[in-house]
């Protein structure tokens, strides 16, 4: 510390006093110096209390401090902590050392009780966020008590106050209540999570100021310390109060709020995957030749109709497609893909438009005599196969057309099979076979399986830490993929096959391709088990749901997380993405379904109504309807209000706006003077839609278009919502359109075919 610093410090004592008195810590230079001075005083106090006399003396001499006591309230006032958008938690002070509180084992209980009473009596508009903030305070107080060896006090504390949080955090409370000693608190995964990560809370600026001043005024330094060390409060600006506790409760994501916003502000390309040129030409050629050969009869007419439909599909595809360099590399296409494309075109023509007024037909496959041993089920997209994974380590497949499933005779060598013609292969097949088969290879319960789009492969995962690929030509295990170190919970094929993803107990999801025995990507970041995984329709992303109550969107190429969705109160067991790739639904243990807008990362709707864990979700092909199957033995249909989906993340909107302004400035156009960001957006409003569509046609602004493609179409609507968290939450959801009950059959899986026929699968349970 040099002479001028000291000089400043001595000089600004009075200035600091004035700053503290006005209660306005607006970072002026005087205030900053004052705070430094006060910190020195606190350090001095600390040294004194610890008996470090030499150090104390040295500091005293260097800093020329007098012995006047500094209160923490003065100190707190000096720190600006509540600027919008900043991480508003107070800087990490060396200490909030209050000896009276430190020595008193009841201090936590007393402080917390007062906090509770204060929240109860506070204004209703701020209650939700304050309650949300009180939960991490509660947890940390409890853990602190345990850590200090006050097990009985901790138990008392838990018994007294756990009621407040049981509704939203019942499971965590259950785990916390089992902790008995400091040792448990140190090693328990949940407490470690709380200790090592900051707990995110979303608060309005006023709410946060209220909380802070309450803690200061009443000298609750213990709680203050918790808020400082373990909370990550993000103040949101806006006139709209936070309308529910869940909205305010972000929870532990492993990121600070600012990071989280950065995260959810990353660009995503949600358009469809580009169509392979070979497939496109081949489909066209086939259809044209069909139409030409058959001439004027019915089949010919159908072929030409299909050709029209294909032209439309091509156009749509080209409009929203992901740039080719971003897309997933695929193996060279083959004939099956062309056939598949034509089949889905036919299905498209037969599709029944669904909506709130037109509910789907549901075909239910019920499995009997499973004895509660069936863990998962899947139906192939062409409705030819049904597969079930069992606790007894085997997979059973049934032909839904009741045709025999003929494998190859055991004598047939692979080499001869490769060399022979179609007829030879047919001759090599078994002469007779049942319409069901068992696939045996796993050495533990099979927890997940998926059938590829062309029904030629099946991939399964198991408690034995492996995933296995099965050929549905030969009904044999082709590859065993080892890599996970813990049981694998779920597996999913990419929409075009070839790639698949697994989700595991080891807190990672992994990406595999069928031809590699090791994982291509490891998606690490979840804080607990990854329970489910699904591919985005354009294969560029995967979505995972986890026991840490969050859902994440991962970029497959980069292997990084691009979106985090928080809001569930229990572990997430299933996710689904709409066929157009814009919205995602997740559900699980907390019996509610959350619908998310992938682009903005916002919760669009919370669908409550199920009375048991939700096992599966499926969107209709238009994405206007969501079906959910649950342990409560029902299938439910929900209305998805698409209008609210056309919005973008505020940061993306802001960034785009900045870019536009820069471009405008580069074009030597004087920017509107004195206009802030939001009003500038309004100014630009009228010609916005025109520029977006114009950019698409003209090649000149292709660069900007590439980056703005994700939100291009929704530009005109998003502005209404920009900057405001406008998620709708309903207690008893009125989006529920219909409930269909089954006879004692929990619904394990739901599939929506291209024709909008729903297929549900479940195992009949006898008690």
């Amino acid at each position: 510390m040099d002479a001028s610093d000291r000089h400043n410090a001595a000089q600004s004592t009075s200035a600091a006093g004035a700053g503290a008195g006005s209660g306005n810590g607006s970072g002026s230079s005087g205030g900053r110096q004052a705070s430094q001075k006060k910190v020195e005083k606190v350090v001095l106090q600390f040294l004194k209390s610890k008996g470090y006399k030499d150090a104390e003396k040295a500091l005293r001499e260097n800093a020329r401090l007098d012995d006047a006591e500094t209160t923490l309230g003065d100190l707190a006032n000096v720190f600006p902590g509540n600027e919008v958008g900043s991480d508003a938690s107070v800087p990490n002070w060396i200490m909030f050392y209050n000896e009276a509180e430190e020595g008193n084992p009841d201090a936590y209980s007393q402080s917390y009780r007062e906090l509770r009473r204060w929240i109860d009596s506070s204004l209703d508009v701020y209650k939700h966020e304050l309650y949300a903030a009180s939960y991490p305070i509660f947890v940390h107080s409890y853990v602190d008590l345990l850590m200090r060896g006050l097990g009985e006090k901790a138990e008392e504390f838990m018994a007294l106050y756990s009621r407040d949080h049981v509704v939203n955090h019942g499971k965590d409370i259950g785990v916390l209540a089992t902790l008995k000693t400091a040792g448990h608190a140190e090693e328990n995964s949940l407490t470690r999570l709380f200790r090592e990560n900051k707990y995110g809370v979303r608060m309005t600026r006023v709410g946060f100021e209220l909380l802070l001043s309450f803690l200061q005024d009443h000298n609750h330094t213990l709680l203050m310390r918790t808020v400082n060390q373990h909370l990550n409060i993000r103040t949101v600006d806006g006139t709209e109060p936070i309308s529910s506790e869940l909205e305010a409760d972000v929870g532990i994501t492993g990121h600070t709020q600012n990071q989280l916003d950065q995260f959810n502000g990353q660009d995503v390309f949600l358009g469809s995957a580009p169509m392979d040129a070979y497939v496109r030409d081949e489909v066209e050629r086939t259809l044209q030749s069909e139409a030409g050969r058959r001439g004027k009869d019915a089949a010919g007419a159908e072929a030409s109709a299909l050709l029209d439909a294909f032209a439309k599909v091509k156009q749509e595809n080209a409009a929203g497609a992901v740039p080719a360099r971003e897309a997933m590399p695929m193996p060279p296409p083959h004939g099956a893909e062309v056939e598949h494309q034509i089949a889905s075109l036919k299905a498209l023509r037969k599709r029944i438009a669904l909506g709130p007024a037109a509910l789907p037909s549901i075909c239910m496959y019920t499995l009997h005599n499973t004895n509660s041993a069936m863990n998962c089920a899947a139906v192939s997209e062409d409705l030819s196969l049904l597969a079930g994974g069992f606790s007894e380590s085997y997979i059973k497949i049934w032909s839904l057309k009741r045709e025999p499933l003929r494998g190859f005779q055991s004598g047939l060598a692979a080499a001869t099979a490769a060399a022979s013609t179609e007829e030879d292969i047919e001759a090599g097949r078994e002469k007779t076979a049942d319409d069901h088969r068992k696939l045996v290879a796993h050495s533990g319960p099979v927890f997940g399986l998926d059938i590829s789009y062309d029904s030629r492969y099946l991939v399964s995962c198991s408690e034995d830490k492996t995933a296995r690929l099965w050929s549905l030509d030969t009904y044999t295990n082709v590859v065993c993929y080892k890599g996970h170190n813990y049981p694998v919970w779920d597996v999913a094929f990419a929409p075009q096959g070839f790639y698949f993803a697994t989700a595991s107990h080891d807190r990672t999801a992994r990406l595999w391709s069928c031809d590699h025995i090791y994982a291509l990507r490891i998606f690490a970041g979840h804080l607990s088990d990854v329970n489910c995984v699904r591919f985005h329709p354009n294969s560029k992303y995967v979505v995972t749901g986890s026991s840490d109550k969050s859902v994440r969107l991962w970029d497959v190429q980069r292997g990084s997380c691009v979106r985090v969705f928080t809001g569930h109160t229990g572990s997430v067991d299933t996710v689904a993405i709409s066929p157009d790739g814009r919205i995602m639904a997740s559900a699980g243990e907390d019996q509610t379904v959350n619908v998310w807008d992938l682009g903005s990362g916002r919760c669009m709707d919370t669908l409550a109504g199920h009375a048991g864990s939700v096992y599966s979700l499926a969107f209709s092909q238009e994405g206007t309807l969501l079906l959910s199957g649950s342990a409560d033995e029902t299938v439910r249909a929900w209305d998805i209000k698409r209008s609210s989906s056309a919005s973008d993340h505020p940061i993306i909107a802001q960034r785009r706006e900045e870019r536009r302004q820069q471009e405008a400035q580069a074009g030597a156009q004087p920017a509107a003077s004195g206009a802030d960001a939001s009003s500038a957006m309004d100014v630009d409003n009228p010609d916005d839609g025109a520029s977006a569509s114009g950019a698409k046609a003209s090649g000149s602004s292709a660069k900007a278009n590439g980056q703005a493609a994700a939100g291009g179409a929704s530009d005109s609507k998003k502005r209404d919502a920009a900057g405001v968290w406008k998620s709708r939450r309903v207690a008893e959801s009125d989006s529920l359109l219909k409930t269909w009950r089954t006879k004692s059959t929990p619904v394990y899986s739901i599939l929506m075919t291209k024709r909008n026929l729903a297929v549900a699968t479940g195992a009949f349970t006898v008690e």
Binding site: G151, G174, V175, T178, K180, T181, G183, H184, N188, A358, L359, P360, S361, I362, C363, M364, Y365, T366, L367, H368, N369, T370, N371, S372, M374, N375, L386, G388, S391, K396, W398, L400, G444, P445, F447, E463, P487, W489, H505, D529, N531, S571, D573, E589, G612, S613, Y615, A631, V635, A637, K738, W740, R741, T742, K743, Y748, A758, A760, A763, E767
Partner: protein, 436 residues
Amino acid sequence: MIYSKGSVKNIADAIGISKLKDGITTAMAQDVEYRLHEIISEATKFMRHSKRTKLTVADINSALRVRNIEPIYGFETGRPVKFHKASTALEDIYYVEDEPIDLDTLLEEPLPSVPLDVVYTAHWLAIEGVQPKIQQNPAPVDEEELVNKKPVKSQRQEGVETIPLVKHVLSRELQLYFECITESLQSPDPVVKSTALESISIDAGIHQLVTYFVQYIAVTVKNNLHNLEVLRTAMAVAQAIRRNPNLFVEPYMHQLIPSLLTCLVSKRLCENHTEDHWSLRDGAAQQIAEICRQFGQSYHTLQARIARTLLRAFLDPTKPLTTHYGAIVGLSRLGVSIVKVLVLPNIKAYMSLLDAEMEKDSPQLRDDARHCQNALLGSLRVLADDSDDLKPANLTSVEKSKLVNVVGETLANVVFSEKDGGEIIAAVLAAAKAKE
């Protein structure tokens, strides 16, 4: 605290560590409990991924394996473990039934049948949103029913069988005694039966059995409505219980009275109409009257309630005459004031009904009607017995016309032909006058 210090001590003893410090057992118990919780929460993950709602032994073993702990072998079963509940004085204990298996019989048994193969069926859960009413779909139910149904189901799901508490409390001796007594009561030998009854009426140590006897009476009466002999026995048992000075029957009266009332006013109490069910009714009436007298002090509404019940039976012309008889007898036994207030004002109207029955060409009906008439006469006699100080009236036509005004012609004639007719007339007329 699920896992107590005591358990730790016991286990330590079992493996040969006898002296364990208190602090150690406490710490141990806490830690064991925490570890159990950990394992169980891990196991629930496996349960959820198996899409079950019941935890199985296999789940626990999977959890142990994930934590790199040797699983516990030998407990895995295909089906969920069924717990039995036993209530003790301090707490409820849950245990798994562990029956010894005789290897010889096991080996001799035929092999168990092969479990049924897993099969699938297909049906339409919904056709364009409408659930078809087919066998595979559940019948449509109201929301209320669903709510009512659920709790029952969840109870069943718990897989806990509850053994009632009392079975443990009742000693073996008392059970034997009760069995012996009930058997003797059914014996045709009157000596055996009377011995049993006497035992009930004087034994001191059978208080715990009172509720069983009351139950026995209720069940016997309910199941043997037409068996006069059994009903008589049941009434005798009731009498015996009440007479036993060592028993405190007051709390059981509300259970006993319905049986007595059944024996009093039931439509038919015998197989054959010629049997003497009248005396059974008389006995029941007597018992009810005694109960009213005994407990009327502590339960003020008791007599009023019984009287109201009987009066309703008496005044209902659709009821058979046997019921009427029971009601009249019952009312007359309840005392003079009841007769004055409830019976006397209704006699005349009732007699016209009875006259109509007498006219009918059925010997049985006529017989029943005569009994009713006698019962009414008896009730009038109750009045006469009460008013000894009145001078017997002269049997003149003036008196008779007065009497006819009150009780009707037929009954008046009967009264006139009675020996003590004078006293009855005087009492009846006095009561009627007081009423006016």
